[in-house]
Symmetry: C2
Subunit: 359 residues, 2 copies
């Protein structure tokens, strides 16, 4: 499998949480789709019928990863686009509360702030990142004015995995929609969607698809409650279900690329988990290194600090001097390594040895 | 130039208004960008710096086509995405009037209807498509409650070109924002933007870029008045000007493709105009054929009816039996041929002779 990924050559690639690598066969699927478009004549009846199958194939492939059906899948440009659809689609009234966990990406918080300014929505934050009991913490944070809660399936900074379906159950008891950012979950942890209203994914991280294609899962309840905001001809041409939230012309050849990537036998959860635990355990043994997670990582992210070293400086030094790609975070301040099924023990050894030289 | 376009081989391609063809060199630019991403390591500092130049290069290339500067250019997925940004960005109050010409695409009207439902905006339609005097017609349609007017630069059905700057002058006298759909204008007619608030473009039609990349021009006034609706990290990382309306990760390799396409010496307005006039004149001589435009086409679209024949049936027959790609329209009912600089006299002869057999 690793031989399909040119990006693995000559480096230790531990940045799947930023962007996955593109398989040569995925790029070939993309270029074949461009060639086919030209061969059929763009926008010809033949080409448009074929684009219809490309769209349907991707929608089905994504639905299959979640154990759901295609009418629950809206195709988007990225995770944030999906979060915008869910957040803007709610019939907000002034004074309604949007509950936002401290696990959320700053780009998602930016959407919440726009809703506050436009509709008088009240944003309430709550601390989930390091809490002992996520279920009790959520239950305590809900009020009668809460309409929606934003909780990532996997926290993008610490890598902590949350029990999404159990959190959804608590939300649903009070008619609160649980909207979940799955950027660090899709393709790396099993779906956990019962009761979840919306689950926003991107193809270009753990699934190793091309940047610019993502998806939004919407439950039956969400489909009933959420109105399309940005809209266009894709909401009119016979669109039903979650496709009603799509807008207009997209990069369809990239859809073929993501469908191909989702079909690669990339993922082995047992192996990936063993590797992530191995890294976490090795880091525990290094003096001056502190893992942010107190228990072994349940997803792909392993975040840690090296005493006396600024993560941003280390990130640059690791990339330039050691050809190790990982990511420095600012809140909390840490380094974040992404452990994929593609990751090898040898790569993790390189990382641990390099950190050791600094610790 | 024609040899760069595989899609021209074996057919008469007159559907640029639906989708342009992709040059082999543009596809090569796209695949080179994918290869470079993998070579640098996706999301590495090097790769992210390079993506920054790809984004800046495209923004500048688009600004150059309009005679404006990059801070006025928001990069989008398509024309409709740009129209959504402009339409949703206005601080609508219940009772405000949105004036929508009968030249507008049904996908854009769908946005207006969402605004009516969400904010109590009143949609007023007015007939511009066949009017004698667009300026007087617009002036008569404006009321004190009008806040924004939607007028395409080139009507997507009839191909009529409107005097955008002059229409904008009339709007501005009454503090009305003129928002223009440029799907059938960008890359085929000169820009005419003085006083225009917003101008929504796509790269995948007349400019022959890849599907899935477009842009929105915003004037200083529009930048001051319009709030970002869908938003995300691209609105936070030092974004200024029109970039503030961008959201999150896009298909950056396609940006490199559009920049490449915009650099091809594709367009010769004199030649394109001569060809479009030639087709229009030839159609005038055919019994039973009626052109929708009463004067020679000023843009790329030439729309016409063939007496006794359903356009949709003709569209299919032309494609299957004659390898001619054009588009059947339903409102008004007609066939629409797109005449590009790439179009040859020989292709137009094939079309005219084929129509003649039906007329």
């Amino acid at each position: 499998m690793r031989q399909l990924f040119a990006g693995l050559a000559g480096r230790t690639y531990l940045n799947f949480g930023g962007q996955g690598l593109l398989a040569t066969s995925t790029l070939a699927a993309i270029t074949a789709a461009y060639a086919k478009t030209e061969a059929l004549g763009p926008f010809s009846r033949q080409a448009n019928a074929w684009v219809g199958t490309v769209v349907a194939d991707l929608r089905l492939a994504i639905a299959n990863t979640l154990g759901t059906t295609p009418e629950h899948i809206c195709l988007t440009e990225n995770t944030t686009a999906g979060m915008n659809i869910a957040l803007w689609g709610y019939p907000w009234q002034a004074g309604d509360v949007l509950l936002v966990a401290d696990t959320e990406h700053y780009g998602i918080l930016a959407i919440a702030k726009q809703l506050a300014a436009r509709f008088g929505v009240i944003i309430e934050r709550f601390g989930l990142r390091y809490c002992d009991d996520p279920l009790a913490t959520l239950a305590a944070a809900l009020t009668p004015a809460t309409r929606m809660a934003l909780i990532s399936h996997v926290c993008w900074t610490t890598g902590r995995l949350f029990p999404l379906a159990e959190l959804a159950q608590i939300c649903n008891r009070q008619d609160v929609l649980l909207v979940s950012d799955a950027a660090q979950a899709w393709g790396i942890v099993p779906p956990d969607l019962v009761g979840v209203a919306a689950y926003a994914m991107t193809g270009h991280k753990w699934c190793c698809g091309p940047a610019g294609v993502g998806a939004l899962y919407l439950s039956e309840q969400a489909l009933a409650v959420l109105t399309p905001t940005y809209t266009g001809w894709r909401n009119l041409e016979g669109a039903t279900g979650a496709a009603r939230y799509e807008v207009a012309t997209s990069a369809y050849p990239l859809y073929a690329g993501l469908t191909h990537a989702l079909g690669l036998p990339l993922f082995d959860r047992d192996q990936q988990q063993a590797r992530a635990h191995r890294l976490w355990s090795a880091l525990q043994t290094l003096a001056g290194v502190q893992c942010l997670g107190a228990t072994p990582p349940a997803a792909g992210l392993v975040s840690f600090r090296v005493a006396g070293h600024d993560p941003a400086t280390l990130e640059g030094c690791f990339e330039v001097d050691h050809s190790i790609c990982l990511r420095a975070m600012t809140d909390p301040v840490c380094l974040r390594a992404s452990v994929h099924s593609l990751t090898t023990d040898a790569e993790l050894d390189v990382l641990v040895q390099t950190i050791q030289a600094f610790s």
